[in-house]
Point group: C2
DNA sequence: CAAATTTCAGTTCCACTGAGATGG
DNA sequence: CCCATCTCAGTGAAACTGAAATTT
């Protein structure tokens, strides 16, 4: 007997906004991790570099809060960035419990390179949408996210 | 020294659609798993019941394809549904490699109950959006997802 | 003494892989 | 012989937990 098309998901799922968001997120995640893996980075590397470049030197605990990473994972990720010379760690003279983490000039250059790569990912993800539709999507999502974000 | 607000994510992230989608997906996932956990279900239970109710009795392999679940996980999830009397498994008389899985009347009743719960979740997730905005969001996401879905 | 930071080691959860048994 | 199915056991990654050491 011929193989039927037995891989279509049930319409109960496909009609739900939660499902659409989840599917879109899976696709976005794939594009993103794929693009970063191509240049030997992971998402949290970018998040850490972005936080350091925007807010300046910070403790590891503060970086964890900003990037929503676990304290243990921050340690490991910073080890890797340190090994590549993208960040520097130094003891905080004002609070010796802390390390002050600073982005290096190499780190800034790499961040710029990653910016370009991620911009291309945004473009690829939203290819079927017009510029105004992309803005509208972002605005709607931002309102949903803000509404469910506790302060 | 006063604690600064050191938990805001970098704008490099918050401005990216991939980030917004991912954040929205995390929120949606939380609402969904929370609501289902409240009545002792998991997402894949609903997906399996929905597939069975829409497409009729199916083999476990086919269910795995439809619900995008791993073959191993389908086995475990069906064991649970079977234990609760929501599905029945019987050997396929036409192909004895297969089990034919059928939803029971109890299963249908439970699916209805879950439908109501999930409808409430959609509503809660999209609370800040008007009906027409919700439709627009769904339409934009559907186009993005379709574009990145291989046939 | 209570709280915060860095770090390591261990746990838990999930998705997936491999392989055996059965059968088409 | 090759492929599909069901099942279980095991692997590996990711996020988190606990606790120790240090300092505020």
């Amino acid at each position: 007997m011929m193989a039927k098309n037995d891989d279509a998901p049930p319409s109960r799922l496909t009609s739900k906004q939660t499902w659409l968001i989840s599917q879109a997120s899976i696709r976005a995640h794939r594009l993103l991790t794929g693009a970063l893996a191509g240049v030997n980075y992971r998402g949290f590397h970018y998040r850490l570099l972005a936080a350091l470049e925007e807010f300046g030197p910070a403790s590891q605990a503060a970086l964890g809060r900003r990037t929503e990473m676990d304290r243990s994972d921050v340690v490991a990720a910073l080890n890797e960035l340190d090994d590549r010379g993208l960040v520097k760690r130094a003891p905080d003279p004002r609070d010796s419990r802390r390390n002050v983490v600073t982005i290096t000039s190499i780190g800034r250059a790499e961040l710029k390179r990653l910016d370009d790569i991620l911009a291309a990912v945004q473009d690829e993800l939203l290819e079927p949408l017009s510029p105004s539709e992309r803005r509208h999507l972002a605005e709607l999502l931002a309102r949903v996210v803000a509404h469910h974000t506790a302060d």
